[in-house]
């Protein structure tokens, strides 16, 4: 702690207090403010997380004999019911089942589970979405920042609309828009093509681009999520753009810099400090973007567009394999920790605020 609190070291000789009492003096007041939240979080956040780690080493939720056994310790009368079976310790079995795609385990999940494909798709899904969000966000912000553009205020007001709608509504609406028979997208394409277009957005298994193992539903969800995501980046970029002094462009223009030179050498470098943290937020959000995947493709076809969080939910909701789900969630946390540490380092979020 000395590194974050250098005042302690210098105070000690003067104030002739023991380090412990000095620490207590510093901790006393903030502790009063922290205690309510600390108690609640210990109870509903950290205890379940610890319990989750324990669960991940057990067969919690596995019903051994044809729907007879229950893991509910308390029956109607408060006593353990006769068919109660405590969860059994299975060591690292859940983890090894997941990481090695153990055939029996995969068959139980419907035969399409493949952890490494899932992880790879999740990372690619995150990367491709955020790349589009940031690029489009910057370009549209620059476009809206052009001086003398008519109706800028109207466009800015319109462009915020995707942000204000609930994610779940956006996902369900886009799911129906991409419906192969009645969806607006196919109807629109039919209008332009002049002949009925019946693209099976969510059911076509063959990848539309040969050699790229991404099903059509990935592209449908990419379109929906781009629609959802760029306005936030545009907002952040607009804020940063407006703080760039005009004199820089004037000076560059006098020196004979062209528009694109100004964009690459002034606009982009000065947008960086605002866009990097925003992109980091975007990466974590998109990595965990449950709604779009679950409500649009549902992970299909054949589990090819499943991401970690939707798989974790299915393990609990559909398969009721709580132990496996817990192990899976621990793996999600392990994947997210490096992402979080990088984010934290770049955005300096938890660094000491200068008092």
């Amino acid at each position: 702690m000395a590194a974050t609190n250098p005042g302690m070291a210098t105070l000690k000789p003067k104030a002739a207090r023991s380090p412990a009492s000095e620490a207590w003096r510093q901790l006393r007041t903030p502790l009063v403010y922290l205690i309510p939240a600390a108690l609640i979080m210990a109870l509903v956040t950290f205890y379940p997380l610890a319990y989750q780690v324990w669960m991940s080493f057990t067969d919690y939720g596995v019903i051994k004999e044809e729907g007879k056994q229950t893991l509910n310790r308390f029956g109607p009368d408060g006593q353990p019911p006769p068919n109660y079976r405590p969860a059994e310790w299975v060591g690292f079995k859940n983890y090894s089942d997941i990481l090695t795609n153990e055939p029996q385990f995969v068959a139980r999940l419907g035969g399409t589970f493949n952890f490494w494909r899932l992880l790879g798709f999740n990372l690619w899904w995150t990367f491709s979405n955020v790349a589009f969000h940031v690029a489009l966000g910057i370009l549209i912000a620059v476009l809206l920042n052009v001086e003398g553009l008519w109706g800028r205020k109207i466009y800015r007001a319109l462009y915020i609309l995707p942000m204000v709608l609930p994610n779940i509504v956006i996902a369900t609406v886009w799911r129906n828009m991409f419906d192969d028979q009645y969806g607006a997208v196919n109807q629109l394409l039919s209008m332009f093509a002049g002949t009925p277009v019946n693209i099976r957005w969510f059911n076509q298994i063959e990848p539309p681009i040969p050699g790229v193992p991404l099903p059509l539903s990935y592209y449908a969800m990419l379109i929906a999520n781009i629609w959802l995501g760029w306005p936030f980046m545009t907002l952040v970029a607009t804020g940063a753009l407006q703080s760039i002094p005009k004199e820089m462009y004037e000076a560059a223009a006098i020196d004979g810099a062209t528009g694109s030179q100004q964009f690459w050498n002034i606009t982009l470098p000065l947008l960086r400090p605002a866009m990097v943290p925003a992109a980091m937020v975007g990466i974590v959000t998109t990595f965990n973007l449950f709604h779009i995947i679950y409500f649009m493709s549902g992970g299909g076809p054949l589990g090819q567009t499943e991401i970690m969080v939707t798989q974790a939910f299915k393990l609990v909701n559909a398969q009721q394999l709580f132990g496996v789900a817990a192990a899976f969630s621990v793996i999600i946390a392990l994947v997210l920790i490096p992402i979080f540490l990088i984010t934290n380092r770049i955005s300096r979020a938890t660094e000491s605020y200068d008092v």
Binding site: Y33, M55, N72, I140, V236, F290, V309, V355
Partner: protein
């Protein structure tokens, strides 16, 4: 109006600047075309859903694209308000459940979170860095990834309804006492301000919610915490509280400290500073954080879907899922559209009103979805 303003602005700077020049006609045309195209893509899904919700024909699926369907009416809205899904619940009941859930979680997270946020923002103490990392790390973890232990733990809590009512009443009394502890001394010393009343009001609303839940008729003899809105609320707090702490801390950091320093010189105690200076200044931050928590809770899906089995407890998001995808069956899409709009409107309107405050906070705050 804006074009007039820009022309005068360019005129005053004429001669000295190239950046402020007026656009050539073809540039204006090109940029307008681009902007209109983007606007069209943004508006397309929204127009689609709005026009579909006005379709009076009650047909299962739309067969063509039309901006205004023939004989447009609000029939679908009426049908949806009456009975949105196959379950015997009205829209009002669904909305009330969502409101209780989202409102209760948001209020609780604010009430508990703001003091912790203040401690993180204004005090230096040993272990501060680690505690903050713990809070922030939780906001990065997806809420879905804690569903297994929360389900198992809450499922294990089974009490008789009477015991539950008593527990809830005690909780309500505690919340009221907490509120009084803040409001009464301030009134006595004559230093009550907007912040004090805000906290008092929050406590009052929250305790009323608790009392209401305590007296609401319980479904059976044994109360399973998991299978209730209260249980879902507790599970939601697990993620909402760290988010609120982090978000509020971000806002509090931006409040200048000059006033507090002046108060310290005048001999104010930390408590006086918190309640009489920081809280009143933090009202916009409380509003925004409360709203973001509320918006998250309003459409919360996976916890309610996993936990709740009694149709009386169902929420808006669950009904929406019942109207799409594999469960849609023969529900006409005009109803689905009307329902989506009804769900979105309250959140969207408040979002637009608070937009100015929210945007700054989104980058400061957490990322929990």
């Amino acid at each position: 109006m804006s074009s007039v303003a820009t022309t005068t602005a360019t005129r005053t700077r004429k001669g000295s600047t190239a950046a402020g020049r007026r656009l050539r006609w073809w540039q204006q045309l090109l940029f307008q075309a681009l902007c209109l195209f983007i606007a069209a893509t943004v508006l397309f899904p929204i127009m689609w859903i709005v026009s579909m919700s006005l379709d009076p024909r009650n047909i299962a699926r739309p067969t063509e694209l039309r901006l205004i369907p023939p004989g447009a009416s609000l029939e679908a809205y009426r049908a949806v308000l009456d009975r949105p899904t196959a379950n015997p619940v009205t829209f009002t009941e669904l909305a009330l459940n969502s409101l209780k859930l989202a409102g209760g979680v948001a209020l609780f997270a604010l009430l508990i979170g703001v003091s912790a946020a203040y401690a993180f923002s204004r005090f230096k103490f040993p272990g501060r860095q680690y505690m903050m990392i713990a809070v922030l790390a939780i906001t990065v973890l997806p809420a879905v990834a804690t569903i297994a232990p929360l389900f198992a733990l809450l499922n294990g809590i089974r009490v008789s309804s009477d015991l539950l009512s008593i527990a809830l009443l005690i909780a309500a009394a505690l919340v009221i006492a907490f509120g009084l502890m803040i409001v009464v001394p301030a009134l006595r010393t004559g230093t009550a301000s907007g912040g004090t009343y805000a906290v008092g009001g929050l406590a009052l609303v929250l305790s009323m919610l608790l009392v209401y839940t305590a007296f609401a008729p319980a479904p059976g003899d044994v109360f399973v915490l998991r299978n209730s809105l209260l249980g879902v609320g507790i599970a939601m707090i697990s993620g909402a509280l760290p988010f609120a702490i982090w978000n509020l801390k971000g806002y509090l950091d931006t409040i200048p400290k000059e006033l507090e320093e002046a108060a310290i010189i005048d001999g104010a105690s930390p408590n006086q500073i918190f309640f009489q200076i920081v809280l009143p200044l933090a009202v916009p931050a409380l509003a925004v954080t409360g709203f973001l928590s509320f918006a998250g809770g309003w459409t919360e899906f996976f916890l309610s879907w996993q936990f709740l089995t009694n149709p009386k407890d169902f929420t808006l998001a669950m009904a929406l899922y019942n109207m799409t995808g594999q469960y849609a069956g023969s529900v006409p899409w005009s109803r689905f559209a009307a329902f989506s709009i009804l769900v979105s409107l309250p959140v969207a309107i408040v979002y637009l009103l608070l937009q100015r405050y929210i945007v700054g906070g989104l980058t400061l705050g957490g990322v929990k979805g």
